[in-house]
Amino acid sequence: MSGCPFNHEPAEAPDGGTQPAAVGPHRRGVSRRGLFSLAGVGGVGAVAGLAAGYLSHDAVAAVAAPAGSGSNVVPFYGERQAGIITPTQDRLHMAAFDVTIEDRAAVIQLLKDWTAAAEAMTTGRTTGATGAVDGSYDAPPEDTGEALDLAAGKLTLTFGFGPGLFEKDLKPRFGLEGRRPGALIDLPHFPGDALQPERTGGDIVVQACADDPQVAVHAIRNLARIGFGKVRVRWSQLGFGRTSSTSRAQATARNLFGFKDGTANLKSEDAAPLDEHVWATAGTHPGEAWMAGGSYLVSRRIRMHIEIWDRTSLREQEGLIGRTKGVGAPLSGGEEFTAPDFAIKGRDGEPLIPIDSHVRLAHADQNNGVKMLRRGYNYTDGSDGLGHLDAGLFFIAFVKDPRTHYVPMQMAMAKSDKLALEYLKHTGSGLFAVPPGIKAGGFIGEGLFA
C-alpha cells in the first residue's frame, strides 16, 4: 500500500477488472470504536483490567448499535449536505483549499476520494482501507489516528466551491465554462474591510463541525493529506463555542461580547422559510441547475476589539446591540424571543432600539424580509503581539442567494452599524457554492462535473 494515495489503489470492479475506486461507503475504513472493541473482546494481554472492562462494555454497545447508527452520527448522505441545518455542533474546523492542478479528471478523483473519506469519518471510522494501525508496518498509516477511540462526535463535513474553481485569470478551469452560478459572485468591497489575502477566498471549502475539536481537526487534516499535490490549504480556522442555534432544541449561545447571538436565526424546523431563504434553486441558466437544493456559504472572519469593548459601559453595549445583555430581550421590551418593536420610542423621542443598533440593521424587517441561517463560531487565535487577543467571530451563513440575502445587509451594516464601525474588523472572507447532498455511491459535486 505504500505510495498509494488514498483510494487510488485499484479496486475490484464487479466485472473482475480493476478501475479507479468509486467505492461504496461500507467498503473501507475501520470503525474506530470497533477496532478497540475487538481489542477488548479479544482480551489483548496488555490491556489493563479496567480498560478491558470498559472496552468490553463498548463491544456490547457496538454489537447493539453498530458504528454509523449511533446518536453521535449525523448521516452523511442525503438530499442536502449535512452541516447546514444540522443542529450546530460545539466546534468548527474550516479549511479553504486552492486547487493547484488543472486536470479535470484528477479533481473529480479527489472529490470521490474526499467523499469516501468524509463518509467514513462522519460515521466514526478511519480513512483508507487499513486505517490508522492495520496497514503495512513499513508504511505510514492511512489514517492519522488521533481520532481513534473517539466517537463520531456528530461530525459533519460540508463542501463548497469558490469562484476560483470555475475561473482563474478570467479563463475557465476544469471544463466548467458556463457552470458558475450567477449567485456565486465576487463579493464587493465593504466599507472597513481589512481583508487579508491569506485568509480570503479559496477554490474549495470544507466545513467540519463536531462536538469534539479533535474529531473536526482530524477530519480536515486527513482531507488535506489526501489532497496533497492537487490542493493546498489556503486558510483554515478553528472555532469554539457556537454562536448561534439552528434548532429550537438548542439554547442561544453567547458571542465574545457576552451577548446572546443568533436569537432570531432561522431554525432547522422552519421548512418553508428555509426554502425561501437558504436552499438554492436551479438558477436562471441551464449550466447552474446543479445547484438546485444546495446553498451558498458566506464566511467572514470578524476580529472583535474585545479589550476596547470591555471598557465600554453596559448602557453603550446594550445600545450597540439593541438587546439586553442578561436575557437578550430587545430593548423595546419582553423576553429573549419577543419580536423587537422598532417603532416604540422613548423619552427623548428616539426609538428604544437605536437606529444604528446591530439588531435593527440585521433584522429581516430592515432587509426586505430576507433571512439567513447562521452557523458562526467564536475564535481565538492567540494574541496579536500587542497584548490583545486575536479573537472574534468566525461568521458563517448559508443563504439562497448572496446577492439578495447577504450583500445588501452587510453593506448596510458596514456603513451604519456602530458596532461594526467601532468594535469589529473583517479580516477574512469567502463565498462558496454548496452543492446539494450526495446519494450513496455518488460523490460531492457530481452534478457540477456531470
Partner: protein, 402 residues
C-alpha cells in the same frame, strides 16, 4: 524597512474606522446617571439583612419600592417594568421637583439599574408608566450612614471642568480651521514639501477633539475617511485623500492640479462647517469622560497599530493628539473626581505621565519618528501603556457622574 513589522501582527495596514462615536455619548447624556452594577448600599453599615439592590416594580398602577429607608452612600435601584408601556423611575429631592437620579426608557419586561450617590435626607420616588404625568410617588428616606458624602461644591467643580473643556474644543477647532487653510493652500499650489510638513501637525488639532468632531456623522467621513472605509461609488475627500497623494505608494498616479484644488477647497469648506457646528455643541461631564475613553480607544485601535496614517506613517502625531485630548478632559474633571475617587485620580495622573514619557522618547524636532521607524518592542511598550491607561480611564465617567 527594518523593524517595521511586528512578529505577530500580520494584519494589513488598512485603516480602522471610527465615527459618530459621540452620538453614543449624546444618548447617554440624556440621562446623566451612569448605570453600573455597583451595589455599595449592600455593604453599607446598617444596611438591612435583606440588602441588595433596592427592588422597584413598576406597573400601570403601582410603583413598589422594596424599602422606604436606606443608609446613605451609593444607592442601587433595580427597576423592573412589569407593565405594558415604557416606564421611568425617578428619585426626587424632598421638594418633589429636583431630580436626583433617573432612569428612562425601560421597555416592558426589562430591568434597569439606577446607581447614584445620595446624602442623608428625605426624598421621593416616582415611577412614570407611559412616561406621562407626575408619576406614582412615594416618600423615601436616606439615613446618615456616617459615610462622607460629596461636597456641596461638587457640581460647581464639574461645571467648571465642562466649561474649560468647551473652551478647549473651541480653541482647537479655530486652530484647525486656520491650519487647514494653510495646508490646503500649499497643497493646491503644488507645494508638496510644504504640505507634507504641515500635514501631521495640522491634523493634531482634529485628533485632539476627535470625539466631538466625529459626532457630525456627515462631516466625519468627508474629512477623515480612509480608503478602506469607502463604499463602492463613494467619492473620497478629506485628509487621507491628500495624504495618499502627498505620500504616494509605489505605482500611484498623482492627482492633477485641478483634482488637488478640488480636494483642498472641499477640505477647507468642510472644516469651516465643522468649526461652525462645534460652536453650539453642548458638553457635559459624561461626554468628557466618555470622550477621553474613546480617544484612548482610538489610539489602541488605529494609532498604535500604524493603521491610521497608512501612507504618511505620522501616526505618532495623532497618537500624541489623542492623548492630549484625553488628558485635558481628565484634568478638567480631576477636581471633581478627586472628591469622588481620589485613588482613581492619582492612578490616572501616573498613567498619563508614564505614557507621555514613553511618547516623548520618540519625539524628533517638532514632531515624532515615523511609525515605520519604531521597533516591535517599542510599539509593544506603547501599546502596554495605552492599555494600562485605558482601563482605569474607562471608569472616569461613572466615577464622576455617579
Amino acid at each position: 524597512m527594518p523593524g517595521t513589522t511586528l512578529p505577530k501582527i500580520t494584519l494589513p495596514k488598512i485603516a480602522s474606522r471610527s465615527r459618530k462615536s459621540l452620538a453614543i455619548v449624546a444618548a447617554a447624556a440624556a440621562v446623566p446617571m451612569v448605570l453600573t452594577g455597583c451595589t455599595d448600599n449592600t455593604k453599607s453599615p446598617g444596611a438591612s439583612a435583606s440588602a441588595g439592590p433596592i427592588q422597584v416594580t413598576s406597573t400601570k398602577t403601582e410603583c413598589k419600592v422594596s424599602t422606604g429607608s436606606v443608609p446613605s452612600g451609593n444607592l442601587s435601584f433595580a427597576v423592573k417594568n412589569e407593565g405594558t408601556e415604557i416606564t421611568e423611575f425617578y428619585l426626587l429631592a424632598e421638594d418633589g421637583l429636583r431630580i436626583v437620579g433617573e432612569v428612562e426608557n425601560i421597555g416592558p419586561g426589562l430591568t434597569r439599574n439606577l446607581v447614584i450617590t445620595a446624602p442623608a435626607g428625605k426624598y421621593t420616588t416616582a415611577c412614570k408608566p407611559g412616561m406621562q404625568g407626575d408619576g406614582i410617588r412615594a416618600a423615601f428616606e436616606v439615613t446618615d450612614s456616617g459615610n462622607k458624602t460629596v461636597d456641596a461644591d461638587f457640581q460647581k467643580l464639574v461645571d467648571t471642568g465642562v466649561q474649560q473643556y468647551t473652551a478647549y474644543v473651541k480653541d482647537q477647532t479655530e486652530q484647525l480651521v486656520t491650519g487647514t487653510k494653510a495646508f490646503a493652500d500649499a497643497y493646491a499650489a503644488g507645494d508638496a514639501s510644504k504640505a507634507r510638513e504641515l500635514y501631521a501637525a495640522t491634523r493634531m488639532h482634529w485628533e485632539r477633539i476627535e470625539p466631538v468632531a466625529e459626532s457630525f456623522g456627515d462631516l466625519d467621513p468627508k474629512l477623515d475617511a480612509r480608503e478602506a472605509d469607502l463604499e463602492p461609488g463613494q467619492e473620497w475627500t478629506g485628509w487621507h485623500r491628500a495624504e495618499k497623494d502627498l505620500f504616494p505608494p509605489a505605482g500611484y498616479t498623482a492627482l492633477t492640479a485641478t483634482e488637488r484644488a478640488k480636494i483642498a477647497t472641499q477640505l477647507v469648506a468642510d472644516t469651516e462647517e465643522l468649526g461652525k457646528r462645534t460652536r453650539t455643541v453642548v458638553l457635559s461631564a459624561d461626554k468628557l469622560g466618555n470622550g477621553a475613553k474613546e480617544l484612548l480607544d482610538e489610539v489602541a485601535r488605529g494609532k498604535v497599530t500604524g493603521e491610521e496614517e497608512i501612507w504618511s506613517h505620522t501616526d505618532l502625531w495623532d497618537f500624541q493628539a489623542n492623548v492630549d485630548g484625553a488628558r485635558i478632559a481628565f484634568e478638567n474633571l480631576k477636581p471633581a473626581l478627586a472628591q469622588k475617587d481620589a485613588a482613581l485620580a492619582t492612578s490616572l495622573d501616573e498613567k498619563f505621565a508614564a505614557l507621555q514619557a514613553e511618547l516623548k522618547k520618540h519625539a524628533k524636532g517638532d514632531g515624532f519618528a515615523y511609525y515605520t521607524e519604531l521597533s516591535p518592542a517599542e510599539v509593544q511598550q506603547l501599546a502596554a501603556l495605552v492599555d494600562a491607561l485605558g482601563e482605569p480611564l474607562s471608569k472616569l465617567t461613572s466615577a464622576v457622574v455617579l
